[in-house]
Amino acid sequence: MFTFHLRTVICGETYLSGIRQSLDNLARNNPHWQYTLQPQSVFSDEEVHLHIVDCTGCSSPGELPADTANLLNSRKTLVLLRAMQRDMTTLLLNDYACSILCVDERHCTIRSLVETVMKNRRFLSPLMKREKPPEKDAEVIILTRTEHSILEYLRQGLSGVEISKLLFRSEKTVSTHKRNIMQKLGVSDDFALSKKIKLTSVLYE
């Protein structure tokens, strides 16, 4: 009988319950396999096969306690992330060695996680494998300094009237700059502009 030991360092109650149910299903279908799932604080002599760290509420590893952040350099640490945490995902993929499970997965199995970890490989759930660094996807558009500052205000959700007051320009001037920005980005309405400016990196002229 093989026992797979997991320790939760930080884990939300709901996700923990989901992981436990999936492990129960796996144990039920594999009579010679069992698991233990305990908090990190519980002292034990056994080798820990997997640590679980819930980062669904974090925007960067710096928000974690130092000893938890150190665990991120190990493939035997499983980090939970949401699909929308693109920046955190890129950071963990490029700068750390931890395994990553996206809590928004529709088709991921705990079995593949356990098998990968036992082979001492890094586990990445399917949505995480599809994630690419933003630099590879982003188009580089060249804007003037004024266009760039107006774009930043638009990114924050300010209206043309508010921007004109901040920059001490007339509303028509701001409107012209905004039209030029939209032409350079290849969009024709405000909704398309709001989606585009999240994806595009810009350079000054």
Partner: protein
């Protein structure tokens, strides 16, 4: 409401589906899990008893977001409660789902504490001026798909000005006062829809 209320759970994500199924079953609630829109529609239309609660995970909807908004609107009288839980607390999305006739909206991190007490409490009726009409929901969905006003007018039998009026009424019902708020809502809908793209 007693704990034998039937829960119809629409959750496509594995972890959350397993967790909620276990929690609700342990609480004594029979649970029907739906993985697809077709399955959900069949369950909602087949059961005749009103003692049912629809529980929807908004974060796992993906491209089915707009279909779910329409289903919630159409099936308002077929269930006693519709509870939607969002990936993170968000005022705009909360108002959207409540406007589409959900009775409650939670964040995922609140599920552990608030879901079971919420299932037991009496329904609070949403104020009439916070609910979206079918036309308002249709127009909002069309805008969220990237259509322009002219295109929305051409699709239906409405004039250009009528579409503007319907959009204005939708904004009033959702409590959105500024253009940036409207664009913010459309962006969030687009983000939710494109999680699995």
């Amino acid at each position: 409401m007693d704990d034998s209320t039937l829960i119809i759970l629409y959750e496509t994500r594995v972890l959350l589906r397993e967790a909620l199924k276990a929690t609700l079953t342990a609480n004594g609630n029979p649970v029907i899990v739906c993985h697809t829109m077709e399955q959900l529609a069949e369950e909602l239309c087949s059961q005749k008893t009103l003692c049912r609660t629809l529980l929807v995970g908004a974060g796992g909807l993906g491209s089915d977001l707009t279909a779910m908004l329409r289903i919630m609107h159409y099936t308002e009288t077929m269930v006693e409660k519709t509870v939607v839980y969002l990936p993170v607390p968000d005022a705009l999305l909360t108002r959207l789902f409540l406007g589409a006739r959900a009775t409650h909206c939670l964040a995922e991190k609140e599920l552990g504490d608030k879901l079971l007490p919420l299932l037991r409490e009496q329904n609070a009726k949403l104020k009439r001026d916070e609910r979206l009409s079918l036309s308002e929901l249709d127009v909002l969905i069309d805008y969220s798909c990237g259509l322009q006003t002219r295109e929305i007018a051409d699709r239906g039998t409405r004039s250009y000005k009528t579409v503007f009026t319907i959009k204005r009424n939708a904004r009033l019902h959702l409590g959105i006062e500024s253009k940036s708020g409207w664009l913010g809502l459309l962006s969030k809908m687009s983000q939710l829809s494109s999680v699995y793209d």
